[in-house]
C-alpha cells in the first residue's frame, strides 16, 4: 500500500487537516485503512462508498455496541444505509479523536444515542441505549421494573425542564458533569 500516500493530494490533505482534528499521520493512516476496504476498481474514485457491513468489520468498531448507529450518524448517504465515504470516515475519526472538543463529542454522542433521530432522547431511546450497553441476552437484561426505575432516575437527573425527554442541551449539561466522557468517547485507528 505504498501508493496510498500519493493518492491524497497535498491540497486535500491540508484541507483535511484544517477541517478535522486529525493530524497528518492519522489522516494518512485513515486513508490507508479506508482504501483497504474498497474494491479494486473503486480505489481511484474520490467519493467511493464503503458499505456499513464492511466498515463495522474494522477491529476498532467490531465489538462496539453502537457500531451501526455510529455509521448511520456519520453517513451522508442518500439512502440512509450507513455507508461512508472517505470524508465521512474522517468525520467519524475526527469526532472520536483525542483533540476533539467536548462540544463536538457530546453532540455526536447525543445523535448516536438518539435512535429514532427525532432530536430528543425520549423513553424509548433511553431504553434502547441501556439495552445496547448491557447487551440483549436475557440474563444481562434489566427487568422491566428495573428499566422503568432506571429511566425515571435518568430523567430526574437530567431532564431539567421536566418535559419527559432529554434534549441536546440537557444532555450536554450531563456530559459536562461527567469528566470521564471525553477520555472514553474515543476511537483511535
Amino acid at each position: 500500500m505504498g501508493t496510498t500516500a500519493s493518492q491524497l493530494s497535498k491540497e486535500s490533505l491540508s484541507e483535511y487537516q484544517e477541517l478535522t482534528f486529525l493530524t497528518k499521520q492519522e489522516i494518512l493512516l485513515a486513508h490507508k485503512r479506508f482504501t483497504e476496504l474498497l474494491e479494486k476498481h473503486e480505489k481511484d474514485q474520490i467519493d467511493a462508498r464503503v458499505s456499513m457491513g464492511k466498515i463495522i468489520t474494522l477491529p476498532e468498531l467490531k465489538s462496539n455496541p453502537f457500531k451501526e448507529r455510529i455509521c448511520q450518524v456519520f453517513s451522508t448517504s442518500e439512502q440512509k444505509d450507513g455507508s461512508l465515504t472517505f470524508e465521512d470516515f474522517l468525520d467519524l475519526l475526527s469526532a472520536f479523536s483525542d483533540s476533539a472538543t467536548l462540544e463536538i463529542k457530546s453532540h455526536y454522542a447525543f445523535r448516536i444515542f438518539d435512535f429514532d433521530d427525532d432530536g430528543t432522547l425520549d423513553c424509548a431511546d433511553l431504553e434502547k441505549l441501556v439495552n445496547c450497553l448491557t447487551g440483549e441476552t436475557n440474563d444481562a437484561k434489566l427487568s422491566s421494573t428495573e428499566m422503568k426505575q432506571l429511566i425515571s432516575n435518568i430523567l430526574e437527573e437530567s431532564d431539567i425542564d421536566k418535559d419527559g425527554t432529554v434534549n441536546l442541551s440537557e444532555f450536554q449539561h450531563v456530559i459536562s458533569r461527567s469528566p470521564d466522557f471525553v477520555s472514553s468517547f474515543k476511537i483511535v485507528l
Binding site: E15, T76, T101, V130, L133, E157, S178, P179, S184
Partner: protein
Amino acid sequence: MTSYRNGGFFNPAYHDTETLEIDRRASSKTHHTNPYDNQDPTWWGDRASNDDAIGRVPQGGWQEESWRGRENIPMDAISIRPRSPPRHHGPNHSISGMDSEYNQSRSIPLPSSSGNMTMRWRGIAMRRMSMFPDADHTQTAFTEDAIWNEMQNEQQNLLEELAALSTRDRIKAIRDLPMSFKEKKHIRKELELQSSRKSRQFTCLADCSEKLSLFSRKCGYHVKSAKQTLELWQGAMKSIGGKFGTSVLTYFVFLKWLLMFNIFSFLVNFGFVTIPLLVYKHTPNISQNVNNVPQNVTFRGLEILTGVGYFKYTVMYYGSYSNGALVGYNMQLAYFFTIAVYMVLCGISLIYSMSVNFKNNYVLADSASNSAWQLLCTWDFSVTNEKAVKQRRNNLCVQLKESLSETAQQERLTVSEKLKHYGIHFGCWLLSTSLAFGCAAGIYFLCKYEHKVLLQTTNTANWSLLDEAKTLLVPFVVSLINLVIPLFYSLFNKFEHYSTHRKQIYALLIRNVFLKMSILSVLCYYWMNKVPAKDPCWESTVGQSLYRLVLFDFLFLMLGSFFGEFLSNVIGTKLIPRMGVPEFDVARNVLELIYSQTLAWIGIYFSPLLPAMQILKFLILFYLKKVSLTHNCQPPRRSGRAAQMQTIFIFLLFFPFFVGALSIVAYTAWSLTPSEGCGPFRGLNNSFTAVDVWIDDLKNVTGSQWVIEIYSNVILSEIFYFLITLIILVIIYILWQVTNGRKELIRRLRQQIVNEGKDKSFLLERLQDLQKSLPNKTTKQKKQKGSMKQHSDDHSSGDQSNSNAMVQALLARQQLEEEEKRYSIGGVPVPSEMSNSSPLMQAMLARQLADQENEDQYPMRDENPSSSSALAQAMAARNRVEDEENNQYDVFNRSSAVTQAMQARRRAEDTDDDMGDLPHPVSNVMMQVMQARQQAQEDDRIQWMTAPPQNPGPSGSSALIQAMLARQEAQNEYDDGY
C-alpha cells in the same frame, strides 16, 4: 386584555421599539393574492355598509399602515414562542436567525430563487403551521420550504459570524462546528469566496498577512504531527486501553508523564553540571583531587546494588563535583541553579496540570457517585477487545442494578449495624495508623544500628563484601514494608463495608500515603540530622542511601508485580477459583510510582544523576507492567472515575510528596553546612551562600548594580514576601467570594430553568386545548372557505365563550390578521359572526376591524363595516371622526360623543354647500339619521354599480347604533363626494 391592547395602540413608544421589528414582515402581505376573492357575497354587503363609514379618511392611510404593521407584533410573538422547534440549532443562531431575515442585503447569494418577500411570508406560515399542526395538509410542502429557508438563514448568519473572525479563529471555529465534512467544506468555500471578494480591495498587506498566517498554520500542523510521531508507546497504550479501558490506562499515562519529568531532569543536570566536570577532567592539567579514585578501590560488582565503593568516586554523587579549578565556570552556581530551576519547573508543571485537571474533573463534576448517567455516558468507546466488551457489559449491568438498589440498602441499616460498621472502621484506621508508626519507628532504629555498625570501619575503602552487604539492610526492609503493608491494607477491604466504592479507594489511598510519608520522613530526619554530624562527606553518603533505596524499590516493584499479580493469578485460576483472576490495582501501583519519584526528587541534590536511573527504571517498569497486566489481570469490574482518580494522583504527587521533597532539598540548601571535604560547596556555611558570594563578586562589575538592588531589596527582604503573601491572601479571598456568588447564581438559574420548563408545559397544554377546541368550532367556516391555503384556522369566529380571555385575544388577533390580508388584497369583506361572542371579545375585535378599515378605506372604498356591538361602532366612529378632524377640518377639535352629532350635522351642511346635490341637513338628529341612511344606500347604488347588493344595517341593534351608523354613512358620503 383591553388595557394591554390600548397600550399597544396608543403608546407611541410601543410602536417604535426595535424589538418588534420582526413584524415588518406584515407589509409583505399586500403582495399576496387572495384565494377567497369571490366568497360569501353576503359578507360583502355587510362590509360595504361599514366601509362607507370608514372610507372618510382621504389621507393618513400611510400612518395607519405602519400602525397596522406593528400591531401584529404580539400575535407573531405569541405564535413563535410556543412552537416546538423542528430541529435543534445552536443557542446563538436561534435568535439571530430571525434577524437575518431582515439583513438580506448583506448576505451571500444563495441558491434559493425565491425572493425575500415569499421567504418572510413562509416564515410566518411555518410558525402558524407549527402552532396548528392539524391544519390543511397542503401546507406541508410549504412548511418544508419554510424550514429550508430558515436553515439557509441560519447558515448565512453563521457565515457572517465566521467572516468577522480572524483566519486562525475562523479555522478553529469551522472545525468546532458539529457538521459533516461536506457542510464544513461548503462553508469554508463560501467564506473564501467572500474574503477573496473583499480582499481585492486591500492588496499587498492583506496578501502578506494571509501568507504569514498560512505559513504559521502549516508550521502548527507540522509541529503537531511531529509531536505525534515522537509520542511514546502509542501502540502499546492503544492495546492496553482497548483491553482494559481508560481507568487502567491512567496508570500508564501517569508513568509516561513521570518519565518525561525525569528525562527533563536528567538532560538539565547532565548538561549543566556533569558535562562541564567531565570536560574539565579530561583536559591535560588534571588536579588530582577531582579524579581521586584511590588505587585500592576496584569495581567488585556489588557496587551496582549498594552504590558505594567505586561509585563513590564517580560523577554519580555530590561529592565528586568540585568548584576547584574549573576555569570560567562557576560550579557552585550551576549546581545550585540547575536544581532550583528544575524544582521550580516541576512545581509549576504540577500545579498547572493539577489545576486544569481539577477544573475539568471536579468543579463541574456531579457529586452523585453512582448516578445512572455517569454509568451510561462513560461507556468506553476505545475498548475494542470482544471479550472485554462482553465483560464490560456485564459489569455495567451489575452496576446499574446496584445503583438502583443502593438507596434502599442504605435505609435498611439499623443502628446496631451502623455502630458495628463504625467500630470496624475505627479499628481498621487504628490498626493501619499504628502499623505505619511501628514501621517508621522500626526503620529509625534500624538506621541507627546501621550507622553504628558502619562507623566501626571508618575507612570505607577497606570495606569487606560483608560490610558492604550490610548497607543493603535498610533499603531492603523499607522496600519490604512498602510491598507488604499495602497488601495488608488491601485485606482490610474484606472486613470494612464502605457505602461506596469511592470511599473505599480513598480510605486505602490515605492509609498508604500515610505509611509512605511516615517512612520517608523518618529517613529524611535521619539523613538530615544524624548523618551530617558523623560523616566527612555526608552528602555522598545520603546519595548512596537514596541510590540503594531507588534500586531496591525497583526490585521490589518487579517482585510486587510477580507476587501481586502473577501469584494471585495462579492462585485464582488454579488453586482457589473463588478468588478469581486479579484486577490491576491502579491506586496501589500509582502510589508506588509516586513514592519512587519522591525518592528521585529528594536525591537530586545528593546524586545529580539519579534521574538517569529513574529513567531506566520507568522504561523497564512500563513493559514489565504491560506484560504482567495482559497475562495476569482482568479488566476492572467497576468503571471507576478514571479522570477524577487521575486528578487525585496528581494532587497526591504534588501535595505531600513533591512539597515534602522540595522542603527537604530547600532545608538542605539553606540550613545545613556542606561537608568540608567534598562537593562544590565546600567551605561555605550553606549552599545558598554561593549566591551571596556571587552577588558580592558582581559588585565589582559595573552595570550590574540593578541585580544587586533586586537581590538585596526583593529576594532578601521580608517585607517583599510579606506583601506578596498579603496580596495572594486578598486575591484568594476575593476569588472565594466570587465562587460563592457564582454558586448562588447557578442555583438560581437552575431554579429559573425549572420554572421556565413549567411555564412551557403550561403554555403547551393551553395550546393543545385550544387546538382541540378550534377545529370543532370552525368546521362550518372551513367548508365555506373551500380551498383555503394559508390560514385555515385563523378565521375562527368569535364564539369561544368557553375559552378564557387570553385565548380569545389570541384568536381575535389571528382573525384580524386574516382580515387585514383580505382587505389589502382584494378588498373583500370578511365574514365575521360576532353577534354571539362575549362583549369584551366583540369590543376588541371590532376595534381592530375598525382600525383596519381605516387603513384600507383610502385606496379602496368598497368595504362596509360589519355589524358589531355598540361599543365597537362607537369607537370606530370616534377614531374616524378624529382622523377627519385632523386631516381636513382643523377647526373641529371636539371629541366627545355628544359633539359628534353636531359635527356630523355641520359636515352635512358643508357637503350641501359644496356639492349641492345632497339632501339638506335636518335639525333634528333623528331626522338626520333617517335621511342619511337613505342617502347612503342610494349613493352606494349609484357610485358602485358593480358592488353586490348591500345588506342593510343590523336589524337587531338599538336605536343608538342606528344613529351612529347613519351618521357615519353620511360622513362617508361626504368624503366620497368630496
